[in-house]
Amino acid sequence: MSFHWGWVIPAGLAVAVVLAGSVSSRTRRRGSRRAVQVANTDALTGLSRYRLLARRHRRNAAVMGVASGVLVIATVMLSARPVRSESVPPEIENRDIMLCLDVSGSMAEYNRSVIEQYAELVGGFEGQRVGLTIFNASAVTVFPLTTDYHFVTDEFERFRQTFAERGIDTLGGTLEGEGSSLVPDGIASCALGFPEEAGERSRSIIVATDNEVEGSTLLSMPEVTTFIADRTIQVYAIFPLFEYEDPDRPDVAEIRALASTTDGAFFPLEDTSATARILRAIERTEVARLDAEPQLVEYATPAVWLAVAALALLALVGAAWRARL
């Protein structure tokens, strides 16, 4: 725990001590000036009832003293603004990653494992901006590019659950085009999810698709490849390709071409090392590292001291009530 205004603590405590000292010495002086000198008080103090009351009084006074002290300390601490500081990489690095998922019927049987992989990827990102777009006949942005990983994790988790429950048309809106599984259009939509200006950020699309197009697309796959390559976006493709299948099928070749043309990579779905390799590959794609130092971000954490202050106040009030002050 640290404090935003650390100097407030010594200053506040010093002020508190000085104030308490002057007040107590003043009351003591006034008290002793006004004190009545009496004698033979054992007629009162010797009574068992008095001893009982005195014990209670002392206990109350002790509780009140300690509680006031704690209250003052807690107040001073709160005035110093307790914070938890975290060193956060500067706005982040400079990579944008769009997760792109083909939610067509043909992918239905694979998407569960794809989503697992994506979850792994999201967990592995640090500082990158991440977005998720799904497409079938039309593309839907699940969440746009963001560095808010809490949000990303939450959204991704929710997506995963709804996907598990509802299957293909997970969020609705993915069946608006003519036909289904319009892969080139979908990938192009993902590419459009990036800001227009590339600036100093590297941009990657991770797409999982089987490239099984049903219906007429607005763009052909080569057009999309050029479109994406022009925008210096890398495409990492995850393809449900199995060993017994022909790796040179036209649909596979198209995606391979898309990946290689854009300096990305192609991974068969069953390649368990895909995730790690994609992460490594993306990390290498530094357009220009921002020189910013990691930023120190402070989160206010008054909870503990507030609780302490509240407890002290409670004890104080309780003791005062008991003392019937």
Partner: protein, 310 residues
């Protein structure tokens, strides 16, 4: 005529007024320099019965009486021969036995320091005695030692004696030890004395009782108790109370409990009753006072009771 310091000024400073005796006399209702006995006469003459060169009464002539003693004027008025009767000179020895312990510097029940009441009481009795030509002495003291003043017959001496008491009783003084004072009285003399014991509400111990019993054999004892502050006095509810001996603070919050007030009142009463009973059994004239206004009546009352006892 200018009245000097008054008794029991609120400042309660330890420096005495410029003349303690003047203060005492003022309170007694007597102008300081007048010789006349004033309105106390009727009361004090009875005290000093059978004393001094004074004219006492007239009686009829019997054979053998000295003709010099015939009161011719009275005889002429009454028609029979009357003689003046004088009482043999016998000086009384009054000793103020004052507890000068620190607790006597504390506040009395009425608000004044107990010291002022003690000085006042000794002053009143001493003053009456001096005016009648009696001798006044002092034995006082506390755990720190005994102070004495010899038996003398003068206002100057009485003033000095009162001053010593006044100075000795101090918040910085030693704690009370009345038993030591009484022992000192017991040792110091074989003359018959009138003792005015001035002390406070401290418990009347068996030791004190034994000492009083021994002193009573020889001396006349007047016991004046100066009552301590009633700690639960509502007037003091907002004030801090400090015990002059232990320095103990008695927080106001502790003086409000109903059961405690009852216990305290009972305890005080029990102590006072015990003292009264013991002293009464020892045939000691006693009075208890809490305020300045009570001093003169109390002292005169004590004298009155002594006279009746004789």
């Amino acid at each position: 005529m200018r009245w000097l310091g008054r008794f029991g000024t609120p400042a309660a400073s330890s420096s005495p007024p410029s003349s303690l005796l003047v203060s005492v006399r003022t309170k007694m209702g007597l102008p300081a320099r007048r010789k006349a006995r004033g309105h106390l006469t009727g009361e004090h003459v009875s005290v000093h019965k059978g004393r001094s060169m004074e004219f006492d009464d007239l009686r009829h002539y019997v054979r053998g009486d000295d003709v010099k003693d015939v009161d011719w004027k009275a005889s002429a008025r009454t028609g029979s021969i009357l003689l003046k009767r004088y009482v043999a000179v016998r000086k009384h020895h009054l000793v103020a036995v004052v507890d000068t312990g620190r607790s006597m510097a504390a506040r009395a029940a009425g608000g004044e320091p107990k010291r002022d009441l003690a000085v006042m009481a000794a002053g009143v009795l001493g003053s009456i005695a001096v005016q009648h030509g009696d001798l006044v002495g002092l034995v006082g003291g506390d755990a720190g030692g005994i102070i004495r003043a010899p038996l003398r017959e003068s206002n100057v001496h009485l003033e000095l004696l009162l001053r010593r008491v006044h100075t000795r009783i101090d918040l910085g003084g030693a704690p009370s030890d009345l038993a030591a004072v009484l022992r000192a009285v017991h040792r110091s003399t074989n003359r018959q004395l009138i003792l005015l014991v001035v002390t406070d509400d401290a418990p009347f111990s068996a030791e004190l009782e034994e000492l009083v019993r021994r002193l009573r054999v020889q001396h006349e004892i007047l016991w004046l108790t100066i009552e301590d502050t009633v700690l639960t006095d509502l007037e003091l509810a907002s004030r801090d109370l400090v015990d002059v001996v232990g320095g103990t603070h008695l927080p106001a919050a502790l003086r409000e409990d109903g059961a405690l007030l009852a216990d305290y009142a009972a305890n005080r009463r029990a102590r006072a009753d015990h003292r009264t009973a013991r002293l009464g059994q020892l045939r000691v004239a006693q009075a208890a006072i809490g305020r300045e206004a009570d001093v003169v009546p109390a002292v005169l009352g004590l004298l009155d009771r002594t006279r009746r006892a004789n």
